[in-house]
């Protein structure tokens, strides 16, 4: 099953397999051997992911930018005349993810050792985490759509387990159910897409389908509809996984899980799987679908950013920010900025992860304060924070770096990737009519909104005075940066948020090695004005926006937003989308289910009941007929016989003379008959 593209190197293959299986081994060990609260489990998982990271780095450097994809296969099982293969497909995209996942997971693991230390289900946590890493790593290297789907579901499952990690909390449980079911909607679409492709091309092999010029997807003479419809299905899958409108509502709720989990799964890796999927099956999309992708991405980015403006829950803000950034990636995919999308994926993974980890530390400290002073506050609410800058310097610095990256200021990685997207969006819209230019303008607007809400977040949390004093002036807020186990991973990530990791030129994204790695992009040259104008304009606009935030939240002399305005409430209530789902769709489904149950009980069973009653009625009629007609006849007959018998019995007296009389009479009668008749 080797295609022309394939090129094998046993060592790389083995290493890649090892990368995938190491977390799995950790999962098994933790699951089967380690006791519930043993601290060993954390180290086992971390060690596994560390090894994974090292090995994946080796694999990465061996595969990156090589002309040949690596593709190996083995028969998994045969069904009918088709052999279903299991295999690896390593190209730039997958090795990037293969490196990215352990790179982000490693700090998170280390962080978690400290973060989860006091939890009663410590081992369980690392079991799940290792399982997630395994599933995620397997997802990115699989060459087979069926298996990819399998791991796609398994990461969702791991996410389900981790969101509901504290399963005694009702909110957590509802959130994980919601996450799984909403993801399932996308999964179903994805599955349908895969099955349609299979039905048409009789293979699950993505290499055959999508890779290179002779891929089936590029074949001539095939009805392209058979590619477009699955493409839309894939898009739906990606929308659910990457929390895009309209299936985004699970992600903010998913913040009920441990913060470290949010950092790894719901910011850096799993949600990016949707983008990864789009990258994998990119050839399946035609121009129309791509436009749809761009529109969805742009809308989601904008919507999430507006929602993030007014939220007070620290993690929720970050969640909406994640949605917004994922929207950016979608947008990039839609406008053909394939490489920029993946670039942004990588940079976003680092800085968003870092933001979450910082948030985790902050929430941790707030929780301490809450318990210490027995306050009735939500430790995640940014309205109660403030002034943490001096108390937690390390956290502040790392968090600021991440925030700046998120805003996209120069010298950060975010600048590189985000500007790439904006520029290419403008280029894409050029010459397509004004309607198309909504998308780049929306994107630009979104990046300004991003700057605002990030600034709001930073100012509320780190600057000013602690709001806790408003509750009780006596409180002396105490907070510390965590132990080294907290600090080291955060610093590692902070380093990754800066430009040198990606490009030696801090201003031109085109020079980033990561960007160049994806040849699919045709925008290699700084061809036109946009490449200069857009970054400058954006950065120039961002400065006043940040100042505006500063004015609003620190100096409190600007009152732009009416706290009770329609727009505010619209934003605060997350555009009412969640309520709509709960009140309309869930109700509708439940109603439908009750209806069918009613149908079952009353109509079908009722019908059966009526049939049964008819049967019983017939039975009763039959019984009546039996008793009075048939039995009646029988009774009459028996009566006759009985009477006859009684009559005849009269002769049977035992009296010999009586018999004799009878006998003689009979003789007489016979004689008379014989003689006279």
């Amino acid at each position: 099953m080797e295609t022309a593209l394939s090129y094998t190197d046993p060592l790389i293959i083995q290493l890649a397999i090892a990368v995938v299986l190491l977390p799995f081994a950790a999962f098994l060990i933790n699951f089967l051997l380690i006791s519930k609260t043993s601290k060993v489990s954390g180290w086992i998982s971390s060690l596994a992911i560390l090894l994974s990271f090292i090995l994946s780095a080796i694999v990465f450097f061996k595969v990156w930018d090589k002309p040949h994809d690596i593709h190996v296969q083995q028969v998994w099982f045969a069904i009918g005349n088709v052999k279903v293969q299991i295999g690896l497909w390593l190209n730039n995209l997958s090795v990037l993810m293969l490196l990215l996942v352990p790179a982000v997971a490693l700090p998170v693991h280390i962080y978690s050792i400290a973060y989860m230390a006091g939890d009663a289900k410590y081992t369980r946590y690392f079991t799940y985490l290792s399982f997630f890493c395994f599933a995620m790593l397997a997802l990115v290297v699989m060459d087979n759509m069926l298996l990819m789907y399998a791991f796609w579901e398994l990461v969702g499952f791991a996410s389900y387990l981790l969101i509901g990690f504290w399963f005694t909390r009702d909110k957590a449980v509802q959130a994980n159910k919601k996450a799984f079911i909403m993801n399932r909607i996308g999964d179903i679409a994805l599955l349908v897409g895969i099955l349609m492709l299979y039905a048409h091309y009789h293979t699950f092999d993505m290499v055959k389908l999508f890779a290179g010029d002779n891929a089936l997807a590029n074949a001539q003479g095939v009805d392209k509809a058979w590619l477009t419809i699955p493409g839309i299905c894939f898009l739906c899958g990606a929308i659910a996984k990457s929390a895009q409108f309209p299936l985004h509502t699970w992600l903010p709720d998913a913040m009920e899980g441990p913060t470290s989990v949010s950092a790894l799964i719901h910011a850096a890796t799993m949600v990016a799987a949707g983008i990864f999927l789009l990258g994998r099956v990119y050839p399946a999309f035609n121009a129309d679908v791509l436009t749809v992708i761009a529109v969805i991405g742009c809308f989601t980015a904008f919507m999430a950013a507006t929602i993030a403006l007014t939220q007070n829950d620290l993690k929720r803000i970050l969640a909406y920010s994640t949605i917004s950034q994922l929207g950016f990636m979608m947008l990039a995919m839609g406008v053909g900025a394939y490489s920029s999308a993946l670039f942004h994926l990588a940079t976003h993974a680092f800085f968003k992860c870092l933001l979450f980890l910082s948030a985790g530390v902050i929430i941790h400290e707030m929780q301490h304060l809450k318990q210490k002073h027995q306050l009735n506050i939500d430790p995640q609410n940014i309205l109660y924070m403030g002034g943490l800058r001096k108390l937690m310097p390390v956290t502040f610095i790392t968090c600021s770096i991440a925030a700046l990256a998120l805003i996209g200021l120069p010298l950060t990685s975010g600048y590189l990737s985000k500007d790439g997207i904006l520029i290419q969006a403008f280029e894409w819209a050029e010459g397509k009519g004004w309607l198309y230019s909504i998308i780049p303008i929306g994107a630009m607007l979104t990046s300004l909104l991003t700057a605002f809400y990030v600034a709001r977040l930073m100012f509320k949390v780190f600057f000013g005075e602690s709001r806790l004093k408003e509750f009780n002036p006596d409180i002396v807020p105490e907070a510390h940066d965590g132990s080294l186990l907290y600090q080291i991973p955060m610093m590692m990530l902070a380093a990754c948020c800066l430009f040198p990791l990606f490009s030696f030129n801090p201003f031109f994204y085109e020079q980033a090695w990561l960007f160049k790695g994806f040849i699919a992009s045709s925008y290699l040259e700084r061809m036109n004005l946009y490449h200069t104008v857009v970054p400058v304009a954006v950065n120039l606009l961002i400065v006043p926006v940040i100042y505006l935030a500063y004015a609003t939240y620190i100096k409190r002399d600007a009152h732009w937003f009416k706290q009770q305005g329609v727009l505010f409430r619209f934003s605060y209530n997350q555009w009412y989308i969640d309520s709509f789902y709960n009140k309309v769709i869930v109700k509708l489904v439940l109603l439908l289910s009750n209806l069918t149950y009613w149908l079952d009980k009353n109509v079908i069973d009722g019908l059966i009941g009526i049939l049964a009653n008819i049967g019983i009625l017939l039975g009763k009629i039959a019984a009546w007929v039996d008793e009075y007609v048939i039995d009646g006849i029988l009774h009459v007959i028996t009566g006759i016989v009985k009477q006859g018998g009684n009559f005849v019995r009269g002769f049977q007296t035992g009296r010999v003379q009586g018999y004799l009389v009878t006998m003689l009479l009979v003789i007489l009668v016979l004689y008379v008959l014989k003689t006279f008749i």
């Binding site: 007296t653 035992g654 010999v656 003379q657 003689l664």
Partner: protein, 101 residues
């Protein structure tokens, strides 16, 4: 000349009387007498018709047999009657209903 018809009438009278006795009496011995009467009526007929068979004497011969057999029957019947009496303390045939002693 005494005709056959005369004999037949007498025998018919005897026969009917015999039947009456057999049917009406409650006494086994009397019934036996009735039976004898019937037999005798029959023998009378045999004898009467035997007159017209000089060569073979069939009538008379069988009359003789009949007489002998009747006597034998009587002796057996009497023995039975006595036995019945011993068992049931009655010789009314209508009261002898149990067959098993």
């Amino acid at each position: 000349m005494i005709t056959l018809t005369d004999f037949l009438f007498i025998s018919a009278g005897l026969f009917c009387t015999g039947i009456f006795i057999v049917l009406s009496k409650r006494n086994a011995i009397q019934i036996l007498i009735g039976i004898e009467l019937i037999i005798n009526a029959a023998i009378l007929n045999l004898v009467a018709f035997g007159k017209y068979d000089k060569l073979n004497n069939a009538g008379q011969s069988f009359a003789l047999f009949a007489i002998v057999l009747a006597a034998a029957a009587v002796s057996v019947a009497l023995a039975i009657i006595l036995n019945v009496y011993r068992q049931y303390k009655t010789i009314d045939p209508n009261k002898v209903e149990r067959l098993k002693g």
